[in-house]
């Protein structure tokens, strides 16, 4: 299998190849001329990121910050009450949730959810964006599991998984903006092809502009072509695998699982069949967390 990152969401074909060409040229032009509108890292996730890496952070401050966004607060509570986190006793306050899950995990959840709700509200493509985020969250969680299995630090691998497709909604938003200028309507198939074609470089540019670690922008750029990664090769392969495993969340077929099991990328990370099985064993619990997030 090639490492295209498209195990399940195989590129759809578009009848409207002329429209695709026009959008492709326009997008490439925007990227080349550095005129692609990049969203700024919004206030809440930016603060969450700063706060959860700050040793002086306290529970009350983080709780107050998340309280500023009701949707975010309700998501965090829902996750902390999910069975995956052993919540036999229902909790209703964010302070309790932070105590149960840990500030860092709450921070991770809040960062992802607030990015989704603040940055990418794309009319007409809500379902598609929602799917992208479900996949990104799952990839973040699988990234953690791969790092844990390899006895590597898990913080960075989570961010790589969460943000590896961050370029996709940015491209979608840009294409929506281009519709009027180009006099053409964007259909979902064309949008998917455009996202797949351009998201690596756009994701890399965006994460760099947000001042995220070099690791994140490099894995965004190379995860679909990990052989070419000049640095962070193992992390890039792990991000690719996390992305592939995340595609199995939901109603994947046994056949798809078997195809992934034989992916050579597992060998490159020196993961033996029994190690791979440990990752597949996480499918249910990660599915549960994603469902609890209900994004």
């Amino acid at each position: 299998m090639s490492n295209t990152g498209l195990l399940i969401d195989d590129s759809p074909t578009s009848d409207n190849s002329e429209t695709l060409d026009v959008f492709c040229a326009a997008l490439a032009n925007l990227i080349d001329r550095k005129e692609l509108a990049l969203p700024v890292l919004p206030e809440v996730p930016s603060k969450v990121l700063t706060m959860t890496t700050n040793p002086d952070m306290n529970i009350a401050e983080l709780s107050n910050l998340i309280h500023q966004d009701q949707a975010l607060a309700s998501h965090v509570l829902r996750v902390s009450n999910s069975a995956s986190y052993g919540g036999t006793r229902q909790i209703a306050s964010l302070t309790q949730a932070i105590t149960r899950l840990g500030g860092r995990l709450v921070g991770d959840i809040a960062f992802g959810i607030s990015l989704q709700s603040d940055v990418f509200q794309i009319k007409g493509f809500e379902k598609m964006v929602r799917q992208l985020w479900r996949h990104a969250f799952a990839a973040g969680l699988f990234g953690k599991e791969i790092a844990r299995l390899r006895r590597r630090n898990i913080e960075g691998q989570y961010l790589c998984g969460l943000l590896h497709t961050i370029g996709k909604p940015v491209i979608l938003q840009a294409c929506i903006g281009l519709q009027e200028e180009l006099g053409r309507t964007l259909d979902k198939d064309t949008a998917t092809i455009l996202m797949n074609n351009f998201h690596n470089s756009v994701g890399s540019i965006l994460t760099f502009s947000w001042g995220l670690p070099d690791l994140v922008s490099k894995t965004c750029l190379y995860y679909t072509n990990y052989e070419e990664a000049p640095t962070f090769k193992d992390e890039t392969i792990a991000t690719y695998l996390a992305s592939q495993l995340a595609l199995l969340i939901g109603d994947s077929l046994e056949k798809e699982q078997e195809v992934l099991r034989s992916d050579p990328a597992f060998h490159l990370l020196n993961l033996y069949p029994e190690d791979v099985q440990l990752l597949f064993d996480k499918l249910d619990s990660i599915s549960e967390i994603i469902a609890a997030m209900a994004i």
Binding site: N54, M57, L101, G156, L215, F232, F266, H267
Partner: protein, 473 residues
Amino acid sequence: MDNANNYDIIVIGSGPGGQQAAVEGTKSGKRVALIERARNVGGECVFHGTIPSKTLREAALNLTNLRSVSNIFQYELRSDVEIHSLMGRLDEVLALQKTSIEEEMRRNDVNLIHGKASLVDQNQVRVQHIDGSSSILSAKNIVIATGSRPRRPPEIPVDHEHILDSDSILSLIYLPQSLTVLGGGVISSEYASIFALLGVKVTMIDRAPRPLMFMDPELVNSYLEHFKQNGGEHYGSAEITSVTWDGVSQVVTKLASGDVISSDKLLVALGRLANVEGLGLETVGIEQTKRGHIVVDDQYQTNIPNIYAVGDVVGRPSLAASAMEQGRRAVCHALGMGDTGVDFSYLPIGIYAIPEMASVGLSEEEAREKFGDIYVGKANFADIARAQISGATTGLLKLVVAPDGQQLLGVHIVSQGAADLIHAGELALLNGNKVSIFQENVLNFPTMSQAYRVAALDVFHQVMNRTAEPVLT
């Protein structure tokens, strides 16, 4: 069995001991298979421990150099510096290491096999390949060199996020503001000094009164002084009662003394475990110690005569250099080449802390116990011209000399480049040279090696003074 799978020697594990064993075998005209479970020849610990940690150490030393010229450049480390950016040459170094080891194995006709090995009987080894398939190899002799991994005490919840081991600490993204280091061995001492020099607030906690108990106390004091100058704190003779992540931002370490230490991250370096799981030692009845190390004799032969074990898997001294010699010695013995005659009593120890430490031969204490009224000659690097030029004036060199004022018994150094400097002392010991060799021969000037001459002269003056003293009756 297919002839292709028949070997004279099978070596399990491709760390320094395994590599040396394999090369010694092929150089003696034997057919050798080298089985490695990790992706790269050289072993996981080299690629994820030794080389990255030394690369980070170089970054810390470069910072020291920059700081030493801070009157010329305004220099300060950015607070958000990424650890990877400090190890800029890491990928290049790893690639070079991988290529050179593979090339050496290829040049010596060692048959490299990637997979997990387990003993079927005393002559057969099953290899589970990464794709799940397996094969059986056979050999007259087998050398086990599977190394070790960090020990995880059950009471300390290593999560590789907040509470780390020596494998996961180097994949941190950012330098933490504070780090607690549990343990007082080589790994903990090296990391504690590196992170302290990088500006991290480091607290070292250990059950022993001082770190590196097997090293000369004067050397260790110099290390601790340097560590404390860089903001480090050391809790010796400390009993840890609990280590917990507070769920928010800090790892909290509680001591029996009532002290509570909070830090962003915690490194657990409380020893290492032999990698023996899955090897099938019990299948062939290979003896192990209570700590799980394989029991061997002085030729590294286990209780099963054709099976040898070398390196970390047999326990102390757990040093790459000694593992190499053990690998060579094991194969020589297996091939009937007899005792290699190498004297392990002069095994040099090099510790890549900052400052570097090295030792060979008897310590001052051991020598005094064995010989009585010995001489100890010292040279402070503050008095050595080359050290003054390089700004490396921290440290000292000690020569331990027998009561006759001639016979050299041991050499101990704490200074920049100590692990290299020690070799002159090691050769003098191996050749049975008198201490006067360092004062009666020419050493380049200015060099750090001049410290040998200064320390030898110190011994000479002490001998003269002692001889001149009136004998009280």
